[in-house]
Structure formats: structure tokens, C-alpha cells
């Protein structure tokens, strides 16, 4: 049976068909849906881990315990998971283990544009990259075969355009894989120097064997067309090359290691060889280092996504159609009723320097709030505020770190422990909206529900903070502006580490809202105070302020800003 499938779903289907038993992941666009789809298969145990390092370690453990395992993450998640990955590359596997990573060229939903292919090379593990949904499913199954044959974790790389595109997939049945019970083997599984030195030798032999074997692997294929130009490519880029050019194609399915001999032979059949790859010159530099003449990056650049039109423009000079009319930008915004909005309004009002973090609340940097002053990576808000503190910055006394509940558990807690241990004085606001918001409502340890929605132990943030020794922990209602202001002033003035939990569930968790608010135009003095919170439901149409009833969810934050009592609660239809 064929079905139109999101590639992320096809990866999940591949895991199902490959007989995978354990999956542990942390959500991150564009990888999140893989694990959500996996959770629908009862044959697979699946979970959200608090971060990618934990997810990878769970997958390593399950593999050593003798079942096929998987962990999924976005590109920056591999930075977090790199520690177990690099040494699991030494221990090898029990049953197959696959790490799925989704890169985000053009940064649709990310803070950087790193190229995870370097991780495969650096950890000395093979990496596959599919070009559509069907290949994604097929490659997952191949990845497990390679993992077991070569005794190595295998990485599967997607990019946003592949992860979030749908194409047809042929469905097959699940093949159960016999459990291979763990048997004691200290020299293989205990990576201390005396054993790791020997395993490193194995890692190198394995890599050499893979580099040789991939020359005849059917994961890579040649499509001969015009011999004037030959192009080496993979993934989404393969589709653009196929569509935009008549060049012969060397399509890589295994993107590390790459088949030097086979590419050399391909190069001999074409007049000119090009490498077309998004982001870094990963293939290109390797080919050049092996003495295979080619070009690519000097023409195509390292930034953003390619497209068929872009390649036609760069290769053949075909002009790209450009927009001729200037239109106002429409950047993403915090939703109407978002509990983060009022907190950022107060932080801006108080002139706070805000050390931000990764989540919906990064949008607090957007005008008109413009409240977030820095944002680097998951958990960094707290460490950076502590850095300001210890640098004796003039801003340190008027500074807060702002982090979401899921991100706090991911990697914020260690920073709080650090600040307490090292006698810091920073203030952190945990924006606790009771869910992992930006990636589309995933459960986390503080929600009291598992990935599958079953009830479980609920992490108690207040108790946790007290247990690690935070001297001052205060909980406020994120919608209560006066209270938020009072507490922020009070806590930042203290000469100890303090944490404010601004609590309100994400507005999208509720489906039914009270009737929308409205503005009494007679009372409204057009002072525009309500526009300062940047609520998408409050519109300024030619100087007249109105509330869009389609968007307003009656959170009441704007009403607290109106000095003229012009904002009225909605009336329930009798």
C-alpha cells in the first residue's frame, strides 16, 4: 500500500518496519514529528528525554541491551548528544543504533546553520541522507543493517526541506528482530584508557572498511545524462539538480564516508565535475583533498537553502523572478493571550537586561517588546546571567535570565546549581507554561504526562529549586502585571540567587476562551499604551484602536494597561 507521508513520519515507519524497540528523543524543529509518529506504534517503547544527551545515552543502553534503538534531534541537539555519541562510536553496538538528526539550512526555526555531516566524520560513524520520504524509510532500515554489520552507531541526516515535505511511501510489514542479550565484555564496553586505545584502532579499521565498501554500495548511484557536466549531490539538493540541470548526477545516499574511487571514475566520464551541497563544502573539500578536481562553493555559497531556480540562475544565468512590490514584513509573534507577553512588558518597563533562551519566548526580542538582549543556546540564559554577575557588569543588578519550563529541565538546572554553588546573585524567571511550546506541545517532566499521554511523576520545580539550595523561590501569575513587577523588583534587589516562576499554561492548550474583549471608542484616548505589548489581536487601523474578535482570547493583560478603562470584558451571549 502506498501512502502520502511526511518524511518525518516515514522515518518513524522505517523504525517500525525495522523492528526498533526503544526510541528516546528531545523535540526540536524540524525533527519533532518523528518521535510523535513513533509514539503511535505500540510495538515500540518511546519517550521524551529531558535533553538530547540523555536520549542518546538511552539509545546506546538499549542497543547494548540487545534491541534496535533510535534517538532523534535537531542539528544543535547533536552538540548536546555529542558526548555519548563520540564514545559509543568506540564501544560499538549490541543491536543496531541510529541517531536521526535534522539540519535546518536557512534557519527556519533555529539559532544557527551548523552542518551535522561534520559530526559523522568527527565521531567516525557512517551517515546516510535520503532525498524523499520513501528513501527516508528505506535508509532507516539500511542504517540498522549497517549498524549491526559494522558494529557502529549510524547517523541519518535530514534537512528541513526533506523532513517537512510529503511524498508517497510504500508500506511494508514490521520485521521483528531477535533480542541479542547483553554479554559481559569489559574491553569493548568500558571505555577507560587501556581499553579505549584498542577500540580506537578498531574505529579506524571500521572507517577504512566503510570508505572502501561504499564504493560499491547501492546507497549511492550514478544517473548519466549530459557528459558536459557531472554533479555530486545528496538529499534535497539532488532533487533541485535533477530538475534544474541536464547534468549527469552522482547521487550520494551515504554522505559519510564518501566513495572516492567511484566518484573518481564518474569524474572521468564527464568534462567537468561540480559538487552541489547546501551549507559547508563537506564533499567538495574531501574530493579536493583526494586530488579530484571539482568546483562548487565559490559559485554557490555556504548560506541558506538552494532551489531549482537558484541553481538555474547560478549555473546557466537564468534570471530569478523577484518580487516587485515592497510589502510590510510579517515576522512570527507570540500568540494573542501568550502568558510570556506581560512578563516581557514588565521587564522592558523596568529597563532590565534580559538573558534569553530557546523557545517561544525568544520572540520577546521582537518589536515592540524588544525585551530580550541575548540568546545563544538551550539553558545558556542562566549561565550567561551568572557570567554578567561574576564579571561585575554594571548591568548585573538590573538583569534577569528568562527560560521556559522544558528548556530549564533540558539544561537550565545545572546552571542554577552552578550559580548557587559559586555564591552568585543572579535572578532567573522560569516562564512555566506547562508544556514544550514552540515545537508544538510536547510533554516534559514537569507536565506529569509521558509522550504517549499517560500520567506519570510530575517534576516539582519549586521543590527542585529549594533542594539545590536556591535561597529565594517565588511563584507569580504571569498575567498579573502588578505582581510580576513587584516580584521582579524585589528579587533582583536581593544579593542571593533567586528564581521567579511565572506560571500560566500556554494559551493554545485551551480550546475554549471567554468572550473577546472590546474597546469603548468613546473612552479610548488613543494613547496607544495597549499597543506596547505587541498583541496581534489589538489593531491600529488609521489611528483607531480595535480588538480583533477572531484573535482575542480574553487574557486581560491589555486591560491592565489602560488608564482610561476603555477596554471592556466581552459579554457572554445569553
Amino acid at each position: 500500500m502506498k501512502r502520502l507521508m511526511l518524511t518525518n513520519e516515514a522515518v518513524a515507519r522505517g523504525a517500525y518496519e525495522a523492528g526498533v524497540k526503544v526510541v528516546s528523543s528531545y523535540p526540536g524543529t524540524p525533527s519533532t514529528e518523528i518521535t510523535e509518529f513513533i509514539s503511535k506504534y505500540n510495538e515500540i517503547y518511546s519517550e521524551w528525554a529531558p535533553n538530547e544527551k540523555v536520549a542518546c545515552e538511552v539509545a546506546v543502553g538499549a542497543s547494548l541491551a540487545g534491541v534496535r534503538s533510535m534517538c532523534c534531534m535537531k542539528h544543535v541537539g547533536v552538540n548536546v548528544a555529542a558526548d555519548p555519541l563520540f564514545t559509543a562510536a568506540y564501544t560499538g553496538v549490541g543491536r543496531g543504533m541510529v541517531l536521526v538528526v535534522a539540519d535546518d539550512p536557512a534557519m527556519h526555526s533555529s539559532q544557527n546553520e551548523q552542518d551535522s555531516r561534520f559530526y559523522a566524520r568527527s565521531a567516525h560513524v557512517p551517515m546516510l541522507e535520503p532525498a524523499d520520504s520513501q528513501e527516508a524509510k528505506d535508509f532507516v532500515k539500511r542504517a540498522y543493517e549497517i549498524s549491526e554489520e559494522y558494529d557502529t552507531p549510524v547517523m541519518l541526516r535530514l534537512t528541513t526541506r526533506i523532513a517537512h515535505s510529503q511524498s508517497f511511501v510504500e508500506l511494508l510489514d514490521r520485521q521483528e528482530v531477535e533480542k541479542k542479550e547483553f554479554s559481559k565484555d569489559i574491553a569493548k564496553y568500558v571505555m577507560m584508557p587501556q581499553f579505549a586505545r584498542k577500540r580506537h584502532v578498531y574505529v579506524e579499521q571500521r572507517e577504512n572498511k566503510l570508505a572502501s565498501d561504499c564504493n560499491v554500495s547501492d546507497l549511492n548511484r550514478v544517473e548519466m545524462r549530459s557528459t558536459k557536466l557531472g554533479i555530486v549531490c545528496a538529499g534535497a539538493v539532488y532533487q533541485y539538480v535533477k530538475e534544474a540541470t541536464d547534468a549527469s548526477i552522482f547521487k550520494l545516499g551515504m554522505v559519510y564516508p564518501i566513495p572516492m574511487d567511484a566518484i573518481r571514475e564518474f569524474a572521468s566520464k564527464v568534462d567537468k565535475l561540480m559538487v552541489v551541497e547546501e551549507l559547508e563544502p563537506f564533499f567538495e573539500n574531501q574530493l579536493k583533498a583526494h586530488g579530484i578536481a571539482c568546483s562548487g562553493k565559490e559559485l554557490l555559497g555556504k548560506q541558506g537553502e538552494y532551489s531549482s531556480a537558484y541553481l538555474r540562475n547560478k549555473l546557466y544565468g537564468t534570471e530569478m523572478v523577484k518580487a516587485t512590490t515592497e510589502v510590510p514584513m510579517r515576522p512570527p509573534v507570540m500568540c494573542a493571550g501568550c502568558p510570556h507577553r506581560g512578563v516581557f512588558y514588565i521587564l522592558k518597563k523596568l529597563g532590565m537586561v534580559v538573558s534569553g533562551d530557546i523557545g517561544c519566548y525568544t520572540l520577546g526580542a521582537q518589536a515592540p517588546l524588544s525585551a530580550v538582549d541575548m540568546c545563544v543556546c538551550m539553558g545558556a540564559s542562566i549561565g550567561m546571567a551568572h557570567g554578567f554577575d561574576k564579571a561585575e557588569s554594571m548591568h548585573a543588578r538590573k538583569m534577569v535570565a528568562v527560560i521556559g519550563d522544558s528548556t530549564f529541565i533540558h539544561s537550565g538546572i545545572t546552571n542554577v546549581i552552578n550559580a548557587v554553588y559559586n555564591q552568585g546573585t543572579s535572578t532567573t524567571i522560569i516562564l512555566d507554561n506547562s508544556i514544550t511550546g514552540m515545537t508544538g506541545h510536547q510533554q516534559n517532566p514537569a507536565t506529569g504526562k509521558t509522550l504517549k499521554g499517560d500520567p506519570t511523576a510530575k517534576l516539582d520545580l519549586e521543590a527542585l529549586l529549594k533542594a539545590v539550595g536556591v535561597p529565594s523561590v517565588v511563584v507569580v501569575d504571569a498575567y498579573d502585571l502588578k505582581e510580576v513587577e513587584r516580584v521582579v523588583k524585589e528579587e533582583t534587589a536581593k544579593e542571593v540567587v533567586s528564581v521567579i516562576i511565572a506560571r500560566r499554561p500556554c494559551i493554545l492548550l485551551t480550546k475554549k476562551y471567554p468572550p473577546a474583549f472590546s474597546i469603548d471608542s468613546d473612552k479610548c484616548k488613543k494613547c496607544k499604551a495597549c499597543l506596547k505589548i505587541g498583541c496581534p489581536a489589538i489593531e491600529n487601523i488609521g489611528g483607531s484602536i480595535r480588538i480583533n474578535k477572531e484573535l482575542c482570547v480574553a487574557c486581560g493583560v491589555c486591560k491592565q494597561l489602560c488608564k482610561f478603562d476603555a477596554i471592556e470584558e466581552g459579554k457572554t451571549n445569553a
Binding site: K2, R3, L4, L6, T29, P30, T32, E33, H108, S109, D132, R161, I162, H164, S165, Q166, S167, F168, A236, Q239, Y240, K242, E243, A244, S307, S308, A309, R312, M320, V321, K322, A323, T324, T325, V327, P328, M329, R330, P331, P332, V333, M334, C335, C360, L363, Q366, A367, P368, M438, T439, G440, K528, L531, G534, C535, P536, E539, N540, N548, E550
Partner: protein
């Protein structure tokens, strides 16, 4: 090859509209690729979904100037993406305005002459009051199904095919109102 670009504002339900077209392709036995938007840009930002239906679809993205149809859920977005339309293509636009943040804050003005500007590019917008039709059908949330109905009728896809596609994509409990919305959208012209 049929290239349809679906544009709108995050939260308007463009994703469902593209999935209905995907189901149409499936029913008609055609190859299809859909490219969707998830994550940060969904939060009230400008969103675009590419739908490509044909015998053998390669790239998941439609290039500028190559869309046969643009289905715009919002006027400003229609203007923003109009250059993706082929000269002989059709632009179906929901006559609804959603203010972007730069307009709300006063940093920019919402253009008053969007349809004139689109016409100035040599393109003829087909305007439909999707929100009103959806409300008449029973819920403002069904704008996406109204629009997909209108588009499919414009393309010339048979009603029964679209109906079957909608049934595959919409949850059972919302089917009744969405079928009504589809019907009203399809008959719009």
C-alpha cells in the same frame, strides 16, 4: 505538472488545505510532493506551503514564476507571494486582512490598494469572501476548507474527488460543518 502555492498567516489552517490537495493527488493516482512549514514561523508569521502534483515530481519547492495557482488566505500574503505566479496563472485570494506586527506597532502601513498592485503585475486576482462563507457554513475556522473548495472548482477537479479528499483529512466530528464549507466554497463562482 500542477504547482499550487498556498500562503497565509500561521494559524489559518494552510497545512490542512495542502493535505487535502495531497489526498486529491492520491485519489487521482498522481505523484505528489508537499512542502510544509512547522515550528517558529507558524506563530502568526507569514507561511507558505508548496504543493506539486504530476507524473514524476522532483523538487519539493515551486520556483518563483512557476506556480499555476496561488491560494492566498490573506490579502497581504497574496501580494507578498504574487511573483511566484506564472503569467497565465490564477491567484485566488480570501478577502481578509490580518495586521502584521509592524503595522500594529505603527512601523508600517497595511497597503490599501493590494488588488490594484497585484493587477499592476499583470495578474488577475479572484477575490472570495472566505471568512463570511465559512461563518455562514457554521464556523469561522473552516475558511481553509472554503478556500480549497473554491480552488478545486477553479482548477476543475470534480466535486466528489475533493469531498473524498476532505473526508480523509478532517476529523470525523468536524466533518459535517467542513462538508458544508466545502460545498459553499466549491459553488462560489
Amino acid at each position: 505538472m500542477l504547482n499550487v502555492l498556498i500562503v497565509g498567516v500561521g494559524g489559518q489552517g494552510t497545512l490542512l488545505a495542502s493535505r487535502v490537495l495531497g489526498a486529491v493527488a492520491d485519489i487521482l493516482g498522481k505523484d505528489c510532493k508537499l512542502s510544509e512549514v512547522h515550528g517558529m514561523s507558524q506563530r502568526g508569521g507569514s507561511v507558505v506551503t508548496h504543493v506539486r502534483i504530476g507524473d514524476d515530481v522532483c523538487a519539493p519547492l515551486i520556483s518563483e514564476g512557476e506556480a499555476d495557482y496561488i491560494l492566498a488566505f490573506e490579502k497581504l500574503e497574496a501580494l507578498r507571494w504574487a511573483h511566484y505566479l506564472k503569467d497565465e496563472g490564477a491567484l485566488l485570494v480570501n478577502d481578509q486582512e490580518i495586521m502584521p506586527m509592524p503595522v500594529i506597532t505603527g512601523a508600517a502601513d497595511y497597503p490599501t490598494d493590494i488588488y490594484t498592485k497585484i493587477k499592476a503585475q499583470g495578474k488577475q486576482p479572484v477575490v472570495i469572501n472566505g471568512l463570511q462563507i465559512a461563518c455562514d457554513a457554521g464556523t469561522s475556522k473552516a475558511v481553509n476548507v472554503v478556500m480549497i473548495g473554491a480552488l478545486c472548482s477553479l482548477i476543475g477537479i470534480e466535486y466528489d474527488t475533493v469531498l473524498e479528499a476532505v473526508r480523509r483529512c478532517v476529523p470525523q466530528k468536524l466533518l459535517e460543518v467542513n462538508e458544508r464549507a466545502l460545498n459553499m466554497g466549491y459553488k462560489y463562482r
